[in-house]
């Protein structure tokens, strides 16, 4: 294998890789959640509080991160409580939801991808059992690739074994 051809070939593929990277759409955008309040407030000089409350309910702070024990995909009681709130919201105001599953760094990367997915699936199954339409819910695993906390200790690992609801 000639080194010179590798070099020019690789700078060409370098560009190709950059171009490929540029043409991707890596971020899943959230659906807009607010109703349009501007019209009514400008025209009538009054703020429509009921619509503002709707917005507040949509973004209420039930936990959106659920944690798991090592090598397990079982929902904890506190997760279930938060998820009950989310399922109620999702049934009254359906929107697309993305569940991102994660694992801590221990063990192998592809197995951890599967573990992250298993955890996100556990959250999805719970929501579906409560009546949320499965077509609203997308499951993605990042395995150990997207750590929330850095460090090789129990605290960091505990923070990384999670599913994030977005």
């Amino acid at each position: 294998m000639k080194v010179t051809s590798i070099k020019s070939g690789l700078s060409a593929l370098f560009l190709a890789a950059l171009l490929a990277g540029c043409s991707s759409n890596p971020v899943v955008e959230e659906q807009p959640t607010s109703t349009d309040i501007e019209d009514t407030s400008v025209q009538t000089g009054q703020v429509d509080t009921s619509e503002i409350e709707d917005v507040a309910v949509e973004t209420v702070t039930a936990d959106t991160i659920f944690y798991f024990d090592f090598d397990k995909a079982l929902l904890k009681p506190e997760s279930r409580a938060a998820l009950l709130e989310h399922s109620a919201m999702l049934q009254s105001n359906p929107r697309n939801v993305r569940l991102e599953g994660h694992a801590d760094e221990r063990g192998t990367r592809e197995y951890n991808m599967a573990l992250g997915e298993r955890r996100a699936q556990a959250v999805k199954e719970f929501l579906v059992l409560q009546g949320v339409s499965p077509s609203l819910i997308e499951v993605i695993s990042y395995g150990e690739e997207r750590a929330a906390a850095y460090g090789s200790n129990d605290d960091a690992w505990g923070l990384n074994r999670r599913v994030e609801l977005k």
Binding site: K2, T4, L10, A12, L13, L19, R109, M113, Y142
Partner: protein, 428 residues
């Protein structure tokens, strides 16, 4: 969009000085290394930009089987066998001597003629000529190392092979991921892919010309193949759920991979010519990390169908599976040595993850590493060494260990965390 490309290009050009280098640090060597002297190559005035003898010395040292004589102790720098005065070398306790001469042969090409001499027996073991252009001096050096290593040990040298690996660089909570290929000694690192989204699981094709890998660039994990010479790149999968763990068949016609589109992670085969997928496992457990046996008829994979991850065998024709590992509470990521019998894997006995070697015939499991949090073992194509990823403090680094655990070295990157090494096949 054009602006984005241009600014990215500029960023790469400016930061080329900060591209990670892998620097070898030997931590443990063989107990009775062979003493070898690599005399500085007589370059007959040619400016090569590389010290060929130093590259050979590093290669031989890294194998752990050799101890090199220090240049400042050498009494002479012979370029040819007939210029060797054996007594000078016997006095230093040298067992072998490498001597060589580089000449220009016109057309921009240079020829290296080198000899391996047995100092004890006072005879020439081999003489060889190899030629290349001025940019190929490192390749010439690695060929010298291969020939010397093979002559003395009887094992084919793997110094002319390459490593693929992933580097993750964190800046203000944002990551940049790079898929790189470098020489087996960490030199000449080249960028294959850069992304703001994770890259995983590089896998070499049998001819060493392509890499398959997982990229999250589309927002979900997908498997790609990329030709390292032509730059051609193709997305192979686009299913919902997991798309992971690609592994090329030995004959290059199929890819084993993992998809969870049918409910949970299962092993599939993709026929690269027909683009047809066939499903190989049917079990509600996690089945992942397939790797091929040399006959192309059997896969080894990780499954937790028994409760915790263990290594299983899968007959592709019959789909029958058989559990292989029973020692330890976690065995995963099988990587087969070329002898077809020794399996490297991630192994946990109590609570630390080590790399272990497992004998498929006897069932014997040997822990090879003392580092913790080990993952991604990859075996050199001559079976002499394996490389894996581990952590030093908070940094992800690559480490190498010989399959008899006698030799160890570490390769940290100068920037970022390095992970997921994949050792190329023989390339020449």
């Amino acid at each position: 969009m054009v602006h984005k490309i241009l600014s990215l290009l500029l960023l790469i050009m400016l930061s080329s000085a900060s591209f990670g280098e892998l620097v070898i640090k030997i931590t443990h060597g063989n107990d009775k290394p062979t003493r070898i002297a690599v005399a500085p190559i007589d370059q007959t005035g040619i400016q090569t930009g590389e010290d060929i003898s130093r590259i050979v010395e590093s290669d031989l040292q890294r194998s752990g089987l050799f101890e090199t004589i220090e240049r400042r102790n050498m009494l002479a720098f012979p370029g040819r066998a007939q210029d060797v005065y054996y007594r000078d070398w016997r006095m230093l306790g040298t067992e072998y001597l490498v001597a060589g001469q580089l000449r220009s042969v016109g057309g921009g090409r240079y020829q290296l003629e080198f000899s391996l001499l047995n100092v004890t027996a006072q005879k020439t073991e081999l003489t060889h000529k190899v030629s290349g252009t001025i940019t190929q001096m490192r390749d010439l050096a690695h060929l010298v190392s291969d020939k010397v290593y093979e002559e003395i040990t009887g094992i084919r040298g793997a110094f002319s092979t390459r490593l693929a690996y992933v580097t993750a660089i964190r800046k203000n909570d944002k990551y940049t991921y790079r898929l790189n290929v470098a020489d087996a000694d960490g030199a000449r690192e080249k960028l294959v892919l850069e992304s703001g989204e994770p890259i995983m699981s590089p896998s070499w094709s049998g001819d060493g010309k392509e890499l398959a890998y997982v990229s999250f660039e589309t927002g979900r994990p997908a498997i790609f193949r990329q030709n390292l010479v032509t730059a051609a790149r193709q997305q192979l999968t686009n299913f919902t759920g997991l798309n992971g763990a690609p592994s090329w068949s030995p004959d290059g016609t199929r890819m084993a991979l993992v998809l969870s589109k049918d409910g949970n992670p299962e092993i599939y085969l993709l026929d690269l010519q027909s683009n047809k997928f066939s499903r190989l496992t049917r079990h509600f457990a996690i089945d992942t990390e397939p790797t091929w046996m040399p006959d192309g008829k059997t896969l080894l994979f990780t499954s937790d169908r028994g409760g915790t991850p263990q290594i299983y065998k899968l007959n592709i024709a019959t789909k029958a599976t058989e559990r292989l590992t029973f020692t330890g509470n976690y065995n995963a990521r099988p990587s087969l040595a070329p002898d077809g019998r020794t399996l490297a894997m991630v192994h946990r006995q109590t609570d630390t993850f080590h790399i272990a070697s497992f004998d498929l015939k006897t069932g014997r499991m040997i822990e090879l590493t003392e580092t913790r949090l080990d993952e991604s073992p990859t075996v050199a194509p001559n079976g002499a060494m394996l490389m894996y990823a581990t952590k030093q403090g908070d940094r992800g680094v690559l480490a190498a260990v010989s399959l008899d655990a006698g030799v160890r070295y570490v390769l940290p990157s100068s920037i970022g965390d390095v992970r997921e090494p994949a050792w190329s096949p023989f390339l020449r």
